[in-house]
Every structure is written in structure tokens, then in C-alpha cells.
């Protein structure tokens, strides 16, 4: 009751970090563990104030490794849980992101990307962690990563991230950049009844028959929580459906690892979200995500004014990679332009999907995002 | 008291000791020998033949000496031995 009243609704002016925090609360996140790091700190700050108002837990751990570990623990104890960080912290979290994957733990990790490597540029934007998002932890696994390009999306996609994570029992990453995180914009928050919330699939049948890693047809096992009498075991070791270690068995390993990949890939059409602008007849297709997509959009509009048949494919879901959509755009386009704030990461995926269509990469490092003009230039060169 | 004791206590034989029933889960034993070594009454000894794991499990020498302190049960790393008290009807 007090919760309802506390939930924000209506139009607000806020920055991306705050929007993310509010989104988490709206999504039902009741556990946040983190460690201060620019430019994600405001998420922690805001949640330290808001979480208690919802009976939720905020704790600042001793480091990012502890934060992600605590998040996994809290999730197994039945709470929707999240942590937020930036590059250096994201790197520290990788091992336990692997653990979350292996133990199929619903949880959300927000990475506000800044300039790397190492400590790099704490206060400037980057898109250099998008590959780490997919490949950061050792071993093969499927994972979901979303890229908001507005403060509104910081709110919306945080909710989306929780929903996907709960649906597929997979850690879900919100890969935002420093600009989106610190930018102030109008955010419209619908009444809670209008917000779609997904909760994890609970076990059916009696506790003594429960197998924590026995998947249903959707390849996702129902999840029980600690203290509910299921007395189940989970481990980072290769394990069978009971969760018991089976480290010597090749078929247990392949069965498990393939499922961990496929439960995401096989559902990619359900997972993937993209935005298409004037692509129908586009000869030059721009593929962009995050804040860069906003410049790209403006560049496309200017191009059209200048008579260039330009279009934009904005990636909202980075992983699983929207391969089909890129291929489709590539088919009719003469050329593709991919602006990224890195030395070329998602562009490789685009090239792979473009199948021959020339792909022009526009790189930007260490300063503000691409200006529309810079992207327009690239389009001109290829039209 | 200073004086030396010369007589054995009266009615010594009448004292009732609870009768022990020692259970060995022989094939679960890894033969560490703790139960044998630390039994205060030396009720156990190393068996002469090996078990399924190829080690020498304990073997009961004299069950009647057991006072059911259950230290063997407590110190066994392999949950391979436990002691219960024989139901009364057999003793009294």
C-alpha cells in the first residue's frame, strides 16, 4: 500500500542513472549491492534512498566481486536483485557473471560504459564493453544485453532487463554509456498497473521431486528459493539436473553448456528488440546503438533532406545479436555505416551479418559521441 | 582418603550397565582408525580382512565393554560407525 504511493508515475525530469534506479524499483527489484564507481554511482546513491521505502535492501559491498556475489545470493533467496558498475567493476564481476550463468540466476547487471582500458576516462562515454558483455566470462554461454539510448529507455529497459532475466534464468546486462546515464531528460512513467512485470517460473510438483536444473520445454528450469523446503543444491561445477557435480561426464557437460547457450539463442526472436527508421528503401543503412543512435537518427534525417536514401537500424538488444534484422537491411542497402565509440566491436557482428554488403565503420574515442555531421559525412562518402 | 582399599565393592556384579549395540557400516569406512585409537574402553580393533574400499575397517573385540560414550560415532569422518543402546528387555 505504501509501495503504490511511493512508486513514481507521470512525467519527470531526471538523469539516466536515476531513471534506471526507478525502473529497477518499478520492476520489483528489492536488492541492490554495489560499489561506488563513476559514472554509475548515482544509481547506488538513488537506490540507497529509495530501496528502504519499499522494504528493499541496499548494501554497499567491499568490492564489485562481492557485489555480484551478494546479488546472486539474494536472487537465490528470492529477491529480484541488481548491481550497477562501470568498466573496471564490470571486469571484476566477470567470474561471478559466469557463476550466475552456470547456476542460471536471474539478476541484472548495469554497466555504464566509460573510456577504457583500465581506469581510462571515468567521466567520458564509451562503448568498449559490448564484446566483453558477450564473452567476458570464461566458457560458452548465452546472455542478454540491452543498450538504452535515452533516459526514458534507461527506465524502460531496466524493467525489460528484469523481465527477461526472470523469464530465462539468465543474468541480463544493461549496457548504457556515460552520456545516457548523466543526461537529464523527460521521463514518462506509466501507472504501475500499466507496467508489465514478469516473475520467475516457480516449481510445480512436490519439493522432494524437485530438480533445480531440470528444464521445461522452453529449456528453462523452474526456480525454487532457499528456505522453501526444496533443499536443493547449486554449484558452479558442471552439474546434472539435481545440481550435483558431475565433472567427469562429457555428456553432462555438453548437455548443460549447449542448453545454457540455446535457451537464449533459440528464443532470440522473442528477446530481440530493434528500432527501424526509413529502412524500407534505404540505400545507406546506419546501424547504431546507445547514445550514438541518437546522432545517427539526426544524420539520417539530414541525409534524406540532402536526397540520400538513408535509414537507421537501432539495436536495442545487443545480445543475442539481431542478426536477421541486420541481414535484411543489408540485402537492399548498397552500403552500411556503423558508428561506435570504440575501435570496432559490434561492427564485426554487422559485417558477419551483412554478407558482402560493404560496411563502413566510424570510430570515435575519448570525447563526446559522434556528431550527426560526422555520421552524415560517412554516409555521403558511401552514397 | 588415606587408607588403601582392600575389598572389592559389595554388589559390584549387581550394577546394571546399559548394553551397547555397535553398528559398523563396513564398506563406508576409509580405515582412518580414529574409532579404534580413541575408544576409551578399547572395544575396537583393526579387522583382519579388508573391506570393499580396500582398507581395514574396525572390528568389535568386546561389545560388553562399550559404555556407549559414542565417541567413535562422533569422531568418524565417514559416518561408518554408530552405537545404540540395546532395548532394555534384553538386559533387565
Amino acid at each position: 500500500m505504501s509501495e503504490k504511493r511511493a512508486l513514481l508515475t507521470g512525467a519527470h525530469f531526471m538523469n539516466g542513472d536515476v531513471a534506471c534506479a526507478e525502473g529497477a524499483i518499478a520492476a520489483g527489484c528489492r536488492f541492490f549491492a554495489g560499489y561506488p564507481i563513476t559514472p554509475a554511482t548515482e544509481i547506488a546513491e538513488h537506490l540507497s534512498e529509495r530501496m528502504p521505502e519499499f522494504g528493499g535492501i541496499y548494501i554497499q559491498m567491499e568490492d564489485e566481486i562481492a557485489s555480484i556475489a551478494a546479488v546472486i545470493g539474494a536472487s537465490y533467496a528470492g529477491l529480484k536483485a541488481m548491481t550497477a558498475t562501470s568498466g573496471p567493476g564490470f571486469s571484476l564481476m566477470q567470474e561471478n557473471i559466469g557463476l550466475a550463468v552456470m547456476t542460471e540466476t536471474p539478476c541484472v547487471i548495469v554497466d555504464i560504459m566509460r573510456g577504457g582500458p583500465s581506469t581510462g576516462q571515468p567521466t567520458l562515454p564509451g562503448q568498449q564493453d559490448v564484446m566483453q558483455a558477450k564473452w567476458g566470462s570464461h566458457g560458452d554461454y548465452g546472455i542478454i544485453a540491452l543498450a538504452p539510448s535515452s533516459v526514458q529507455e534507461m527506465f524502460d529497459l531496466t524493467i525489460e532487463a528484469f523481465n527477461l532475466s526472470e523469464t530465462y534464468r539468465v543474468p541480463t546486462l544493461l549496457m548504457a554509456d556515460e552520456v545516457v546515464a548523466h543526461m537529464w531528460e523527460r521521463v514518462v512513467i506509466p501507472s504501475s498497473s500499466k507496467i508489465k512485470i514478469v516473475n520467475r517460473k516457480r516449481p510445480h510438483g512436490s519439493p522432494n521431486k524437485y530438480m533445480p536444473f531440470m528444464p521445461d520445454d522452453d529449456m528453462v528450469p523452474p526456480i525454487a528459493c532457499f528456505g522453501e523446503g526444496y533443499r536443493f543444491h547449486a554449484t558452479g561445477l558442471t552439474h546434472d539436473e539435481h545440481g550435483y557435480p558431475k565433472t567427469q561426464s562429457s555428456e553432462v557437460q555438453s548437455k548443460l553448456v549447449r542448453r545454457l547457450c540455446e535457451k537464449v539463442s533459440k528464443s532470440s526472436d522473442k528477446i530481440i528488440r530493434i528500432e527501424e527508421v526509413m529502412l524500407e528503401d534505404a540505400e545507406v543503412a546506419v546501424v547504431a546503438y546507445g547514445i550514438v543512435a541518437r546522432s545517427a537518427l539526426s544524420a539520417v534525417r539530414r541525409a534524406r533532406k540532402a536526397g540520400i536514401k538513408a535509414g537507421l537500424l537501432r539495436l536495442i538488444t545487443l545480445w543475442p545479436f539481431p542478426e536477421a534484422h541486420v541481414a535484411k537491411a543489408a540485402q537492399q542497402a548498397k552500403a552500411m555505416v556503423v558508428p561506435e565509440m570504440n575501435c570496432g566491436q559490434m561492427v564485426r557482428e554487422v559485417e558477419r551479418a551483412a554478407k558482402g554488403t560493404p560496411v563502413n565503420f566510424v570510430s570515435k574515442l575519448g570525447e563526446d559521441p559522434h556528431t550527426p555531421m560526422e555520421i552524415l559525412e560517412a554516409m555521403r562518402r558511401n552514397s | 582418603m588415606p587408607e588403601r582399599i582392600r575389598h572389592k565393592p559389595l554388589g559390584l556384579e549387581k550394577v546394571k550397565h546399559p548394553k551397547a549395540e555397535i553398528h559398523l557400516i563396513v564398506d563406508q569406512c576409509k580405515g582412518c582408525g580414529y574409532c579404534i585409537q580413541y575408544c576409551p574402553k578399547k572395544v575396537l580393533e583393526e579387522s583382519r580382512d579388508i573391506n570393499a574400499r580396500g582398507v581395514y575397517p574396525p572390528r568389535i573385540v568386546d561389545e560388553s565393554k562399550c559404555v556407549i560414550c559414542s565417541f567413535c560415532t562422533a569422531v568418524c569422518p565417514d559416518f561408518a560407525i554408530f552405537v545404540v543402546e540395546k532395548p532394555c528387555k534384553e538386559t533387565c
Partner: protein
């Protein structure tokens, strides 16, 4: 002699996982045995117990005890447990892990959980080395001990775990050897009845990996060392609680009452919401 023997504690164990993987003479089984004994005497509700462990021989414990259990990554058991305990304070959260896991790679989490006084119960099986990886030197390896990575004798001063725990703010600190099964069980019981962060160090024989290299080939030889050298000094200064060839100081060192982190936190949350209702 008897047909199918059923151990009184069998319902506390995951039958599918027993017998355990531990070597003959390994003390880990005794730690589990005593822990279960304590649970049994306190009639603890296994449905509300979560056993969490890290990596290493003793790390397998989570798999053996028939309760909710989680086998975390190396060193992170305490951090994971913190999340569990805060998320559901009703749960009895026990971390059972090794000296390397808790105090080398996981040392930071240990001191901070103790400082925050998170109401988790940490049990460390100290076998003086990294057993599972074949016996390397670790944070508790005694001076001059031989390990696969100190072939010329260890020159690193070991941690005094009980001193570390006490200094970090633990509300209950004890050390026993696997020969002190009665006192160990009693300590487990005390610990399980306390609110705040508790720590018990159990010195366990590791004959196959550590003992073999240090003139104690069998578990019995290591247990005999414990018997010979142990001195019970309850509530003596943990700073002076040495572990030496000729003297091992064991006992209860700390037992104080302190409001746990989760209690404070949830009280605060309640207060905050009260205010908002009034307003």
C-alpha cells in the same frame, strides 16, 4: 554383522553424494559430523538452513548436507551468504569453507562481513595448505612447513585466524581441533544460537597432502599431534593463541552480544516507512 545399516544422521546427508570424496584420515568428515550433531541436538529446521561453501576440499560440504546449499566460486562464499542473509534474515546461513578460500582469496569478504556483523556463521576447516590442488602453501601454512610450493620450507608467517576474526569484530570466535569433537559440537551449538557474525576455526588433519610432507603420514599421527599439543585456554587473548608443533592453543576466545547488521537494517527500514505513513 548387520544387514542394511542406517546411520542416525543419514537424513541430514544427501545419500546420493555419500560417501564423500575426502581422503582417508581427512578431518573434513568430522567437521560435517559435528556440525550435523549440533543441528540434531538443536533440532534445527533443515528447511530454513542454507549451507554455502567456496572452493577446496571442504567446499564440497555444501553438496553433502541435506539442506539448501550453494557451492560458490573461489573465495566468494561469504559475499554470496551476505546476499542470502540480507534477502531473507529468517534463514540460518552457514558458510563452511577452507583456510585458503576464506582467508587468501576471500580474506577481504571475511573481515568486512565480520565488521558489518552480518548474522552468518562461518566455519573454517584449517588444514594448513591447499589440499585440493595438491598441497600448495597457503595463508595458514606454518613456518618452515614443506609444501609443493615451499620445497625449502615456508618463510611466510601464517595468519592467526581467531585473532583476525576477533579483531574484525566477530561476536563469537572459537578454535578446536577435530579431536575436540565434543567441544567443537558445543561451539557449533553456541554459534547457531547467536545473532551476529560467528567464526569457528577447526584444525583438521590432512595426512595425504600436508601430513605426508611434514612427518605425519597418517591421520592418526596428525590427531596425536593435536592431542599432544592442544591446550584449552578459554577466553585467553586470541593474539597469543599460537599454533606450534609443541603447543596449539584452542578454546572459545570471544562470545559477546552485538545487534546484527540485518536486524539494524530491517529496523531502519521499518522506521523509515512508519515516518512516511504518518506524513
Amino acid at each position: 554383522m548387520f544387514e542394511k545399516e542406517v546411520h542416525p544422521f543419514s537424513n541430514y546427508l544427501r545419500s546420493a553424494m555419500i560417501p564423500h570424496i575426502w581422503c582417508p584420515g581427512c578431518g573434513n568428515g568430522i567437521v560435517v559430523n559435528c556440525f550435523i550433531h549440533a543441528l540434531d541436538e538443536l533440532q534445527k529446521d533443515l528447511d530454513k538452513l542454507v549451507v554455502i561453501s567456496g572452493i577446496g576440499c571442504i567446499g564440497r560440504t555444501a553438496g553433502y548436507i541435506n539442506a539448501d546449499s550453494f557451492h560458490t566460486t573461489h573465495g566468494r562464499a561469504i559475499a554470496f551468504a551476505t546476499g542470502v542473509k540480507l534477502a531473507n534474515p529468517e534463514l540460518e546461513v552457514a558458510v563452511i569453507s577452507g583456510d585458503g578460500d576464506l582467508f587468501a582469496i576471500g580474506g577481504n569478504h571475511f573481515i568486512h562481513a565480520a565488521r558489518r556483523n552480518i548474522g552468518i556463521k562461518v566455519i573454517c576447516a584449517n588444514n594448513f595448505n591447499y589440499g585440493m590442488t595438491g598441497g600448495q602453501q597457503g595463508p595458514t601454512t606454518p613456518i618452515e612447513a614443506l609444501t609443493t610450493t615451499t620445497p625449502y620450507g615456508n618463510i611466510e608467517l601464517p595468519f592467526n585466524l581467531v585473532h583476525l576474526a576477533a579483531a574484525s569484530g566477530a561476536t563469537y570466535v572459537a578454535r578446536w581441533t577435530t579431536l575436540h569433537v565434543r567441544r567443537l559440537t558445543q561451539s557449533f551449538k553456541r554459534m547457531l544460537q547467536k545473532e551476529g557474525f560467528c567464526f569457528i576455526e577447526v584444525i583438521t588433519p590432512c595426512p595425504e597432502i600436508f601430513g605426508r610432507r611434514n612427518k605425519m603420514k597418517t591421520g592418526l599421527e596428525m590427531m596425536e599431534w593435536f592431542r599432544r599439543a592442544s591446550v584449552v585456554e578459554n577466553f585467553s587473548d586470541p593474539a597469543k593463541a599460537e599454533i606450534m608443533p609443541e603447543k596449539i592453543v584452542v578454546g572459545e576466545f570471544v562470545n559477546v552480544e552485538k545487534v546484527s547488521y540485518e536486524k539494524l537494517l530491517h529496523e531502519k527500514i521499518a522506521k523509515i516507512n512508519e515516518k512516511r505513513m504518518k506524513w
